[in-house]
């Protein structure tokens, strides 16, 4: 045992613990709890029944009161452990509660009512995962619709982003023409025009084009991202121009050069942009909130925010839907985290 402790506390360089080591590990372990704790708590809570969610203090794991069907009663009754007047404890089912007195029956002898003070009974509880939090939204709410809308927006916008931005990047990296610098500057300048600044006129343009209350109105304004052009162009600049010249000698058309030569060689950069684009479009909120006002068109993010803003928030559904909304991004995080972190560290772009 002490060897394990010694192994775990061993420091590089064989020196003892310095105060900075203590700060480091406190910060890291604290960080682990603060960063993951809230999300884990959310996932845990999403399996609790509405009754368990309303409890305070809450339990860590989901518990529900055990129920039992008693002869002569239609509904299943809650089971309680009650202390009787003679001091013995028995397990009884509650029929009804009047004031501080609870009328209970022994499940084995349903005929006889026993009165117990509610202070002298505690519910018999068992662990149970409320999976209906996940299954019910699929039938009750338009949850499937929202999910589908989000998937449609994300996939379509990402595909268009890849095509449109790679074409522009191809033009800006492999051709000499007048106005190339102007075009490049124009694209970069749009980094300075965030949505929050132009949302009023953008809304009127989207409406004028008949795209209000349409998923295309969500998709189109987002697809020409300057970041995408920038990433792809930087990558295409590293592809030797000789390849393009050789293809022209072989009578390839410019379109074929783009499609057959440049795109396959740009695959790594396209993959990075695709990952970014999926995360961006999946998470988009303000613009869909403005463009979509019909319920059946909401994306997951808009639907969640609307339902969670209602007066009587149905937290058990909201929590489960939030978990579902998190899943794609968590998958990206688990499998592609390294890709993204090196991408950000390399370009400083998000």
């Amino acid at each position: 045992m002490s060897r394990i402790v010694r192994f775990l506390t061993r420091r590089r360089g064989g020196k003892g613990w310095h105060w900075t080591d203590i700060v480091t590990w406190t910060w890291l372990v604290g960080g682990l709890l603060i960063m993951f704790g809230p999300a884990v708590w959310l996932v845990g809570s999403s399996f609790k029944s509405p009754a368990a969610l309303a409890e305070f203090p809450p339990t860590i794991l989901p518990y529900v009161t055990q129920k039992v069907t008693v002869e002569g009663y239609d509904k299943p009754l809650d089971l309680y452990e009650a202390t009787l007047e003679d001091g013995s404890t028995v397990v009884l089912a509650e029929v009804r509660r009047i004031g501080v007195m609870s009328q209970m029956v022994d499940p084995a002898k349903p005929g006889e009512i026993i009165k117990v003070n509610i202070a002298k009974r505690t519910p018999v509880r068992e662990m149970s995962f409320a999976t209906e939090n996940y299954t019910e939204p699929f039938t009750h709410f338009d949850f499937v619709r929202y999910l589908w809308n989000s998937v449609f927006v994300t996939v379509t916008a990402t595909l268009i982003t890849l095509v449109v931005n790679s074409m522009a990047a191809f033009a800006l990296s492999k051709y000499e023409f007048r106005g190339r610098t102007v075009a490049m500057l124009l694209i970069l300048a749009t980094l300075m025009v965030p949505l929050s600044v132009i949302m009023v006129p953008l809304y009127s343009i989207v409406s004028a084009l008949g795209l209000f209350n349409s998923l295309w109105g969500v998709i189109l304004p987002t697809v020409a991202t300057p970041t995408g052009v920038f990433i792809l162009r930087q990558y295409m600049l590293t592809i030797p121009d000789e390849l393009v010249d050789a293809a022209r000698m072989d009578k390839a058309s410019e379109w074929q050069i783009y499609w057959r030569i440049i795109l396959p060689l740009t695959a790594p950069a396209l993959a990075v942009l695709a990952i970014f684009s999926v995360v961006w479009r999946w998470n988009d909120f303000l613009w869909p909130l403005i463009v979509l006002s019909r319920k059946e068109l909401y994306t997951l993010q808009v639907g969640l925010s609307i339902y969670s803003g209602e007066l009587n928030v149905q937290w058990h559904f909201i929590l489960a839907m939030t978990v579902v909304t998190m899943i794609p991004v968590v998958l990206v995080f688990i499998f592609l985290q390294r890709f993204i972190t090196t991408g950000i560290a390399g370009t400083g772009l998000k």
């Binding site: 900075t20 700060v23 480091t24 910060w27 890291l28 960080g31 603060i34 960063m35 993951f36 999300a39 959310l42 809570s45 969610l53 305070f56 095509v163 449109v164 074409m167 522009a168 033009a171 051709y175 023409f177 075009a183 749009t190 025009v193 929050s196 600044v197 132009i198 949302m199 009023v200 006129p201 953008l202 809304y203 009127s204 004028a208 189109l220 304004p221 020409a224 058309s253 999946w282 998470n283 909120f285 303000l286 403005i290 969640l304 925010s305 969670s308 803003g309 929590l319 939030t322 909304t325 998190m326 991004v329 990206v332 995080f333 985290q337 972190t341 950000i344 560290a345 400083g348 998000k350």
Partner: protein, 339 residues
């Protein structure tokens, strides 16, 4: 084709067939176009879709925003709106005293300005401190560094709505925070019903959600500092604190400045997670500028697109200054690198 890959690439070839077909069909008219325009003319063709989308959805709105800010009424389309000159701006700036939002004609605007101001000052300071400390710690000799880096990066990918809901759930009456306090013997508190606490919550939550991103940039900067500088300092008997002030901080400064400006630009525009977490409340205690613009332009009973446009142009002016600052810093950083 190598044998071991043939199965997989066979499948992907079938999947790509419609796309290849489509591109092949496109080739004939495009060859014709190429004959008409010449090789360099095709550059315009490749640029066109992107430029059209830029033009329609970014440049055009950018310019007509100015026109909007000079019109009045509730009509949506510009031709239906009446020209009012600088009235909208005058209304925004019509104040008895700029320090007291209550004395202004458009008091919610000034409340939003004041809230955003405080938010930016506090959030940016704390964000830089927290990210810097985390980056410094991750830059030490650590077991499983990439794991720890991922830990702090995790919330960056979450959607703002999810972030808002996660914390709304924790800060609510029966939430985890109250549970913790209760277990320690303190009284529970309804955090988001309290003006000060909900303001603090918006700062804390936005730092939680984005610090990993800035930590990553700072960490990249720290790892670019040559290790032999520290070895030389150690040989000269320099204390670590002095090494930090004399080596780490000056060499990290370009990255740090870029991060400061990035955090600033994002902080000024804060909206999504706050809107879900507090909805701007209680009262107007967490009402920030973007939400003011959104509500004035779209959500309010009597919406006023002209006023929203004027406010958004004022915010845009601040952002342009900050972005130019960033570009300037980026340039001087490159020059510094060449020295």
């Amino acid at each position: 084709m190598r044998m071991d890959e043939s199965g997989r690439s066979g499948l992907s070839q079938i999947a790509m067939m419609p796309i290849h077909f489509l591109m092949g069909v496109l080739d004939a008219p495009l060859r014709w176009l190429q004959r008409a325009t010449g090789i360099n003319g095709m550059a315009a063709f490749f640029l066109l879709p992107n430029m059209m989308i830029f033009g329609v959805f970014v440049l055009l709105p950018f310019f007509i925003n100015f026109a909007y800010s000079m019109t009045g009424g509730t009509a949506l389309f510009l031709p239906d709106r009446s020209f009012v000159g600088a009235d909208q701006y005058a209304r925004l700036f019509d104040c008895g005293s700029y320090i007291d939002p209550g004395s202004c004609a458009e008091d919610t605007f000034w409340t939003a300005v004041r809230n955003t101001g405080w938010f930016v000052v506090l959030q940016v300071t704390l964000m830089i401190l927290v990210s810097l400390v985390t980056a410094l710690i991750l830059n030490r000799e650590l077991m499983a560094r990439s794991f720890w880096r991922a830990v702090f990066f995790f919330p960056v990918l979450l959607s703002p709505v999810v972030v808002g809901l996660i914390w709304k759930w924790i800060l609510q009456r029966q939430g985890l925070l109250n549970f913790g306090l209760y277990s320690l013997g303190f009284d529970p508190h309804v955090w988001l019903n309290d003006r000060n606490w909900s303001f603090a919550a918006t700062i804390g939550v936005s730092i939680w959600a984005h610090m990993g991103f800035y930590t990553l940039i700072l960490l990249a900067g720290l790892q670019a500092i040559p290790k032999d500088l520290y070895e030389a300092a150690e040989m000269d008997g320099t204390r670590p604190a002095r090494a930090f002030w004399r080596i780490t901080l000056p060499l990290l400064m370009p990255n740090l400045l870029v991060v400061v400006v990035l955090v600033l630009i994002r902080a000024v525009q804060i909206f999504d997670e706050v809107y879900v977490l507090t909805g701007g409340g209680p009262g107007t205690s967490t009402l920030y500028l973007t939400q003011y613009i959104y509500e004035t332009g779209f959500a309010a009973q009597l919406r006023n697109p002209g006023l929203a446009a004027a406010a958004s142009i004022l915010m845009g002016a601040v952002l342009v200054v900050l972005t130019l600052l960033q570009l300037g810093l980026g340039r001087s950083e490159k020059k510094g690198g060449r020295k």
